[in-house]
Amino acid sequence: MLNGLDIEGSSPLHRMPVRGKLLLLFVAAIGLFLLSDLRLLAPALLLAALVYLSTGIGLAEAFRRTRFVLFTVLLVAAMNWLVHSPLEALAVFCRLSALVLLAAAVTATTGISAFMDEIARLIAPLERFGFARAADVSLAVGLVIRFVPEIFARYQDIADAHRARGLPVRPLTTLAPLIILTLKDADTIAMAIDARGFRRH
């Protein structure tokens, strides 16, 4: 039910390792926030858009994915226009939009397992101090993806039961049973995990 947002392709970004992409994104973010000249920020936005499109995502999908965030950027820029100046507002718009598009490009070219491998590498030093365990993190991610469809189906059952009794389907009466029934399963699921010896101490 839950599919990653990465797309197939062989663009340069696709072939770049995860760590490299994240570092570049970080550097770009810092750079964008250090710049204030619209003559530099506007081309930066154009460049970011080109980078995003170079992933092969296509204009329609590119827009569909980012329109909500870009809308909030527009609102923030509009507020800026009101309290500061049009130039400032445009600078804010270009800066934030460029960052959003670059981030979207990284997401489009990086698969979930690539991210998880990188996370495992990053957590490895923490493991030695007993803070976190990479295996636990990937187990947790897997569990979420595994159970979202079941929980959604359970919500629909609860909603159907409401309708059958002529009750309106409201969060007040559907949330509590949904949460209780779902969390009650935790014990048996945990037992099944322990029975398979997944987590060795």
Binding site: L2, N3, G4, L5, D6, L25, A29, R65, F68, V69, T72, V73, V76, A77, M79, N80, V83, H84, E88, A91, V92, L96, L99, A103, A104, V106, T107, T110, I112, F115, I119, D136, V137, A140, V141, L143, V144, F147, V148, I151, F152, Y155, P171, L172, L175, A176, P177, L178, I179, I180, T182, L183, D185, A186, D187, A190, I193, D194, F198, R199
Partner: protein
């Protein structure tokens, strides 16, 4: 961290994802309907407690970061975390933690229902609203080139909806406490 804790955390994150799939909750007097998903941090803190609640929200943010479309409307990916609202999302984690702290400290199963309601509402407001805005506003100001005051003013538009969310979270938190208590009790 017991296996049961990991499962509880993961299941709660999964619940939060499912909340994003539900239709928005219309409120007669406010033009913008509230998404069930935004109840996530408050519910996490009130039901699982500070530590597990915060980890459930952290797991949620991780899922967004690795590119899963788990936010309401099928949104996900680093673009969300790069936007001006990123502070609020970070606020989910800290907010769940503080909400949980207040709930653990002030809610007791032996209390009268009214006292539990008050405690859960306080937890939801302080953690789920207060802390979330505490982290959201400065980032909005910084990213948007606005003064803190202006950013706070913009944020304030969401307060009425947030208070209603806190109310719903209070009811749900109490109902779950009655049906399947998981909230750790902290002296």
């Amino acid at each position: 961290m017991t296996t049961r804790d990991i499962v509880l955390i993961a299941l709660f994150t999964a619940i939060t994802v499912v909340l994003g799939l539900l239709p928005p909750i219309p409120l007669g007097f406010i033009p913008v309907p509230i998404t069930a998903q935004s109840l996530g941090p408050m519910l996490a803190g009130c039901i699982l407690g500070a530590r597990r609640g915060a980890l459930a929200m952290l797991l949620m943010v991780l899922l967004v970061a690795i590119g899963l479309p788990v936010l309401s409307g099928g949104r996900g990916g680093l673009a969300i975390l790069a936007g001006p609202g990123a502070g609020y999302i970070a606020g989910w984690i800290a907010g769940a933690f503080v909400c949980g702290l207040v709930a653990e400290r002030f809610v007791r199963e032996s209390q009268a229902e009214r006292a539990q309601f008050v405690a859960f509402f306080a937890a939801a407001v302080i953690g789920g609203v207060g802390v979330v805005h505490l982290l959201g506003v400065p980032w909005l100001a910084h990213a948007g080139g606005l003064t803190l005051v202006d950013a706070a003013k913009a944020s304030a538009a969401f307060l009425p909806g947030d208070l209603i969310k806190a109310f719903v979270a209070m009811l749900a938190g109490r109902a779950v406490l009655a049906g399947y208590p998981l909230l750790p009790q902290r002296a």
